[in-house]
């Protein structure tokens, strides 16, 4: 693992997963302080790309590296070590249904060694940013669909990660500011959206429709 290595690097990576579609030969690099936007129409393979970046689906060909560590052949424990530096928000990876929103946000913090008191304070702060304070004690299943998406995004943002991988995020204004503060502070993000206009601040934008790169 090299300290100067890109946070995320895909070289001619192809993925296929039943239920999530396929995507072929993607080249992608996300470095510290960068926000890379991948956009494309429905069915372009955005969901499977997000899953492939974290090793939930293995690349059929090509390679995927997180923080300089190739994901191919890693066992669960090794995968977890690199995933610990990441935070994912995706509709394909929802919150735990048997815990309320607050517990869902507390869990990744406490599992990273944050004290209960500090974790409580951080969760309160993030819930307020996402205007979810009133929904803190509600289980995800009982939330409105829009709030459920926000809660998922809040769980990713509550974590002090190096790389944020966000599938179709929609930030409230205050949370958006905190997200960009993290990027300016040296974190990186791969954001997957349908329309790139949502993130004009992107360092690079990659169009899965015609696979052209701009930025």
């Amino acid at each position: 693992m090299s300290s100067n290595a890109p946070f995320l690097k895909l070289e001619a990576a192809s993925f296929h997963e039943v239920g999530f579609g396929s995507i072929a030969e993607v080249d992608l690099e996300v470095n510290a302080g960068e926000l890379v936007v991948v956009h494309g129409p429905q069915g372009a393979g955005k969901a499977v790309l997000v899953r492939g970046c974290l090793g939930f689906v293995a690349a059929k060909s090509g390679s995927v590296s997180l923080f300089g560590t190739p994901l191919r052949g890693l066992v669960h424990e090794e995968l977890l070590t690199v995933r610990r530096r990441c935070a994912l928000s995706s509709a394909s990876a929802p919150l735990l249904s048997n815990q309320n929103v607050r517990e869902n946000l507390l869990l990744p913090l406490i599992m990273r060694g944050v004290s209960e008191k500090a974790a409580d304070a951080r969760v309160d702060e993030v819930l307020a940013l996402f205007q979810l304070t009133a929904a803190a004690w509600v289980r995800p299943e009982d939330l409105l669909p829009g709030d459920r998406d926000l809660a998922r995004l809040a769980r990713a943002l509550v974590v002090p990660a190096d790389l944020y991988i966000l599938d179709d995020p929609s930030f409230p204004l205050a949370a958006r500011k905190e997200f960009f503060d993290k990027i300016h502070g040296g974190a990186a993000a791969l954001v997957v959206v349908r329309y790139p206009q949502y993130f004009p601040e992107a360092t690079r934008a990659i169009d899965l429709g015609d696979r052209s790169t701009s930025g």
């Binding site: 939930f56 995933r83 990876a93 919150l95 599992m111 769980r155």
Partner: protein, 251 residues
């Protein structure tokens, strides 16, 4: 079986890597599992225990004197109820009740992607979802076995004392305690802990092996319960074979 052992080892390693604050959360999850598997199962376990206790003790009390073996009744009850029937019947109840629940819950989480959601924010799903269930079920099976034996003996002795004037509660309990050895309790508890660990481990393995289709939930649950029951039978046979005095059978 090897994959279940590998899963358990991975879960324990995951817990050992966790910071101390995280272990407090796991302890809470384990208590919740003990509550569900142990405390909530007490009524059904007590009912089965009372039935088994009454039937076995009544039959023994009526048949053994006919063969001139009445003095061996205490030892027979310790071996039959305490060491053999208690652990295995409790394990069957727990496998069909909590084992099914664990497999169904974990396979549902898997099909919905909740486990990917956890791992996507760097949480070890095996440490959080498997370890507390395994410890909770093992503790619950051992505790339920103690309750099973207590209820079985109490119900059986009460029924026997009421139905036969020659038998008294004090006499029956005295016979039982004289016949009981520390090793009997050790064997029964070891079986219970092994069975509890096997039930939770096997059911977690089947639950986590489910794919993304919701039709896999009932399949995983069914396979988990059947495999857990088979594992409990094997543990019962192996531990009994290792601890029983086989030489006595041929004498």
């Amino acid at each position: 079986m090897l994959s279940t052992v590998a899963l358990l080892v991975a879960a324990v390693r995951g817990v050992l890597r966790l910071p101390p604050a995280a272990r407090t959360v796991l302890r809470r999850m384990t208590f919740r599992q003990i509550l569900f598997t142990g405390v909530e199962a007490v009524p059904i376990v007590a009912l089965i225990a009372a039935t088994v206790g009454i039937l076995v003790i009544l039959q023994s009390a009526s048949a053994l004197p006919d063969f001139g073996q009445a003095e061996f009744m205490g030892r027979l009850l310790v071996l039959l109820i305490g060491k053999e029937l208690g652990p295995i019947l409790v394990a069957f109840v727990v496998a069909s009740r909590s084992g099914a629940a664990i497999a169904a819950e974990l396979s549902t989480k898997k099909t919905r992607g909740e486990i990917d959601g956890l791992e996507g924010v760097g949480v070890d799903s095996l440490a959080v979802l498997v370890f507390p269930r395994v410890v909770g079920v093992a503790v619950a099976v051992a505790s339920l076995t103690v309750i099973f034996n207590a209820v079985a003996f109490f119900a059986g002795f009460s029924f026997a004392a009421l139905s036969r004037a020659s038998l008294t509660m004090v006499g029956l309990w005295t016979t039982l305690f004289h016949a009981m050895e520390l090793a009997d309790i050790g064997v029964a508890m070891s079986k219970s802990v092994f069975m509890g660990t096997a039930i939770a481990g096997i059911c977690a393995k089947h639950g986590l092996a489910a794919g993304r289709s919701s039709t896999e939930v009932p399949i995983a649950t069914l396979r988990a319960v059947v495999s857990a029951i088979v594992a409990c039978v094997l543990i019962e046979i192996v531990v009994t074979a290792l601890t029983v005095d086989l030489g006595a059978l041929t004498r």
